[in-house]
């Protein structure tokens, strides 16, 4: 029978847990998450980044794995352990295992006036939105933050960004008393004051005054006062353990659900992870950890335990590295213990560093860095062992070549996910060739990201150059193969694999090489030997779906379509019984076509003037647009016209991965151009070009590349951008990761495609001209050629017989694949 797993709370740690549990792919569980907040887990660690552009989607953490039922806006209000159910507004939910991941709440000290309007806490996106709405109103000028720790300084930064004159009030004699010592605190204070924030240390807040219109004044405990319009309380956090007592679950000495090293409460069916767990290890007292890394470790432990493992927590590493108001602050190990210390204070550059070593000076115990934390990853990985270099050399500003480090294999490189150097070197030996690859296979670098520089060093040390291999058949990278094919004028896969590879290829190298050949020779992709290289989508010029049917997407350039053409699509869908859906790319996807129906469907579409939308290819998808100056009262340019021009220019262009674009008619950006591989936003004087944006799994805002460009300049630059990408990117590398991995990044890109530093531009321009000149619609060409059409049959020996296993049912008035027995899903292969 299916066992029921219920997760209470959907924050960062719950997200990690759901992923870890799904990865283990054990059958027989149904998973439900009850979440108090109205959105799935987001990156609370980067919460303050919301103030950069008020774009909550940039903090999204990827959502729940398939099959998990998420119930947002539904707080767990009680646990009945006898009957094994949790209570919430909608009733009772039974569980066989319950994982509590309720996190913390902001602690508000009992001071008078703390409930006045204009007094905020800093924990959730809703808190930040409320703070912004208040502080952005007219007449709000001065703000105070209660608390000079991590949260307080982040809140102070937020107030500053909202244009508020900011004060920070800290009861302790220095800022960040939990992380840094006096010397570090003093350097940090100078940095913060230099930014125009007033720092009050050694002073407490005794009360707040004001009325219905909001807070007006703060009283200090030494009798002083400060007139304020807004207050943020950042005085610490408390675990959300209010479910514990009524359910008879024990709490830790300072709150939190008491759990042992396996993260189980006294009830073996109830677990607690993340900030709400009071974790007792090594027979110590239960402690709640206010950092995400220990929470992630707990998530892994419980995922392992629930799937038959016996993982256990060790004492968590509470090292942290932060950037606060632009100042790097790091603390690691136990910097306040007894031992020998090495302290460097540079008042001129505002750098402070302290290392703490055992009395024999052999073992690193901890340390503090303020102002420059470049040495942090190396130092943290060396904790508990010998230093990889003399202390002063390590603390010196990162010089040429970086520090020569020889970390022991067991050193933890990524503390967020407990990944050791051995794990990383194994992954590199196993074929990981870049940081994204390491992130995917070891998770290192996907937490706080501070170990990424170390990953790069380890990749370099691992001699990654030789493992750029595309797959077992080619020892070359995609870029190298592109050059070989171009320079040697190779025209077929057979020729390439015979002269430069081994075996007969696979599903990795064949489509990649088909795409290179298509890009360089610009031929029809279903001819001759190339036909055998294409994956099924390119082979049948349609997108395969889970039941083996295909979807059909005619091109609708710029999303502009006449009523007559809309009617044709409707008629085709009706006559062939296709499910229709409007896509995010402003076109219409027709689902449920059997392979033998594709030519008839396309016959009708081509006759009505449609052409392939290349939704099946690693190629340009769409150029979205808003209505722009034609209709919109704000529009400053014809965004639709530009989108159509670009879509027609780049249609059919084969690339290492799909390409998406959009054009907005003014800075309001209704077409979401900044989430695209290349996005264009109209200005009064021309066009702004943004490059290398991405939506999807790992969103990235595109970078501004051209400002107020003319149409000609714009198109020339996009031509070169695309051709340079096609020439140099890895297989399945989107423009965003391509640019991120590029040495020199945006500046390098500008040197190559604007300043022509490599003398490549002429060739890139010529390649694009060839593409534009030789474009032909693949579907029209297919329909005209009986030989090409021959492959579109269900069975070679019964061409007209539909696949009897394809069956449909009806949902909301349309047909969908019959649900039938649920197929087995297995991890493993990619």
């Amino acid at each position: 029978m299916t066992k029921r797993l219920v997760v209470a709370g959907y924050g960062m740690v719950a997200q990690r847990f759901l992923e870890a549990f799904a990865e283990r792919a054990v059958p027989g569980w149904s998973v439900t998450v009850l979440a108090e907040e109205d959105r799935p887990a987001y990156d609370r660690v980067r919460l303050s980044a919301w103030f950069d552009d008020y774009d909550a989607s940039a903090l999204h953490l990827g959502g729940a794995p398939d099959g998990v039922a998420v119930r947002l806006n539904e707080c767990v209000t009680g646990i009945d352990r006898e009957r094994k159910v949790v209570r919430s507004a909608s009733g009772e939910t039974p569980y066989d295992a319950l994982v509590l991941a309720t996190g913390s709440r902001a602690f508000v000290p009992p001071i008078a006036g703390a409930d006045l309007p204009g007094v905020f806490v800093y924990r959730t996106l809703d808190d930040l939105a409320a703070l912004r709405d208040w502080a952005a109103a007219d007449g709000k000028r001065v703000g105070a933050v209660l608390g000079g720790g991590l949260l307080g300084l982040e809140a102070a930064n937020a107030l500053k960004m909202l244009g508020i004159t900011t004060h920070v009030v800290e009861f302790a004699p220095r800022l960040m008393p939990l992380q840094v010592d006096e010397g570090g605190g003093a350097v940090l204070r100078r940095h913060i004051e230099a930014l125009g924030v007033t720092v009050h240390t050694g002073r407490g807040c005794a009360g707040l005054e004001g009325g219905d219109d909001g807070v007006t004044r703060m009283l200090f405990n030494d009798g002083g006062t400060l007139d304020v319009d807004v207050v943020v309380v950042a005085a610490g956090i408390r675990p959300r353990d209010e479910l514990a007592e009524p359910a008879g679950l024990a709490r830790g000495p300072r709150g939190g659900f008491a759990v042992d090293a396996s993260c189980a409460t006294a009830d073996p069916a109830v677990w607690a992870i993340g900030e709400c767990a009071a974790l007792a290890v090594d027979s110590g007292d239960g402690v709640c950890y206010g950092l995400v890394a220990p929470g992630y470790a707990m998530a892994e432990v419980v995922a392992d335990r629930l799937t038959g493992g016996d993982a256990a927590m060790t004492r968590p590493d509470t090292s942290t590295k932060l950037k606060l108001l632009g100042v790097d602050v790091a603390s690691f190990g136990t910097p306040f213990a007894e031992g020998l210390d090495v302290v460097v204070t540079d008042q001129v550059t505002g750098v402070y560093a302290k290392l703490l070593l055992t009395d024999d000076a052999q073992t690193l115990l901890g340390g503090i860095l303020v102002g420059d934390a470049a040495a942090y990853p190396t130092l943290r990985a060396s904790l508990g062992g010998p230093l990889p270099a003399p202390p002063l050399a390590l603390l010196a500003p990162a010089g040429e070549g970086g520090v020569k480090t020889e970390l022991p294999g067991s050193a933890q490189v990524c503390s967020c996910h407990a990944v050791t150097k051995d794990h990383i070197t194994d992954a590199i030996a196993g074929g990981c060739t870049d940081v994204p690859g390491l992130k995917a296979c070891t998770k290192a670098g996907t937490g706080c990201g501070s170990c990424v520089p170390l990953l790069k060093q380890l990749l370099a040390a691992g001699g990654v150059a030789q493992s750029k291999a595309l797959c077992e058949h080619f020892t070359y990278s995609r870029q190298e193969l592109f050059d070989i094919i171009r320079v040697r004028g190779i025209r077929s896969f057979s020729e390439l694999v015979r002269e430069h590879g081994t075996g007969r290829g696979c599903d990795i190298c064949k489509p990649a090489i088909a795409s290179i050949l298509a890009g360089l020779n610009n031929g029809y992709i279903l001819d001759g030997e190339e036909a055998a290289l294409q994956d099924t989508n390119d082979h049948f010029l349609a997108n395969i779906q889970r039941d083996g049917t295909y979807s059909v997407v005619p091109r609708i350039p710029g999303g502009e379509i006449t009523p007559d053409k809309l009617i044709v699509i409707g008629e085709v869908a009706r006559d062939f019984g296709l499910y229709t859906k409007i896509t995010g790319g402003q076109r219409i996807d027709l689902f449920g076509a059997r392979v033998e129906q594709l030519p008839e469907i396309w016959h009708r579409l081509v006759d009505a003037g449609f052409e392939s939308g290349h939704a099946y290819g690693k190629a340009l998808r769409t150029v979205k647009s808003c209505v722009g100056s034609t209709w919109c009262r704000y529009g400053v340019q014809d965004s639709v016209g530009m989108a159509i021009e670009l879509e027609l220019r780049y249609r059919g262009l084969r690339a290492p991965h799909k390409l998406k674009s959009a054009v907005s008619g003014c800075a309001r950006e209704c077409a979401e151009a900044r989430s695209k591989d290349f996005g264009i936003i109209a200005t009064e004087k021309g066009w702004n070009l943004y490059v290398a944006g991405n939506g999807g799994f790992r969103p990235r805002h595109a970078d501004l590349f051209l400002t107020d460009a003319t149409t000609e300049e714009l198109i020339r630059t996009i031509d070169r951008f695309l051709m340079y990408y096609i020439r140099t990117a890895d297989r399945l590398q989107r423009t965003s990761t391509w640019l991120e991995a590029m040495d020199g990044g945006l500046d390098h890109l500008r040197e190559v495609i604007v300043d022509d530093a490599l003398g490549l531009c002429e060739e890139l321009d010529a390649q694009m001209a060839r593409h534009v000149g030789s474009y032909a619609d693949e579907w029209r060409a297919t329909l005209q050629d009986p030989q090409r059409l021959a492959r579109f049959v269900s069975f070679v020996n019964a061409p007209g017989t539909p696949d009897p296993d394809i069956t449909f049912e009806v949902e909301r008035g349309q047909k969908i694949p019959a649900k039938g027995p649920v197929p087995v899903t297995l991890g493993g292969a990619s």
Binding site: G503, A531, A829
Partner: protein
């Protein structure tokens, strides 16, 4: 390794030239869906057309290649790779597709489905 032993009859499904090197076709023989492949050297293989992991009849549309010396096909849905000779999945232990006898008879390709 499972060797397919012929106990039924041979059924011709198409002309040999109809098979493109390194691609497959689907055939319907006595109600059984079979995927038939021709590798680059002209050798023939026949396996069940049903992707055992996704549950759809699509194996004939996968990419043909090699892994080491093993001739392979990759599922077009989730890319797991199967040994064309034995039907075994090389990426997920314990998963396999059935194999069927297949031969070239003059200009024709013939497959055999066991009749019990």
């Amino acid at each position: 390794m499972t060797t397919a032993i012929m106990t039924g009859t041979w059924t011709a499904i198409c002309a040999f030239d109809r098979l493109q090197p390194e691609r497959g076709v689907a055939a319907l023989v006595d109600g059984v869906q079979i995927a038939v492949f021709r590798t680059f050297d002209g050798e023939l293989f026949a396996i069940g057309n049903r992707d055992p992991i996704a549950g759809a009849q699509v194996m004939s549309r996968g990419i043909v290649g090699t892994r080491g010396d093993t001739p392979t096909v990759a599922s077009p849905l989730h890319k797991q790779v199967y040994d064309l000779r034995t039907g075994e999945c090389l990426d997920v232990a314990g998963v396999a597709v059935p194999t069927y006898p297949v031969r070239r008879n003059g200009d024709l390709v013939e497959v055999g489905v066991d009749t019990p």
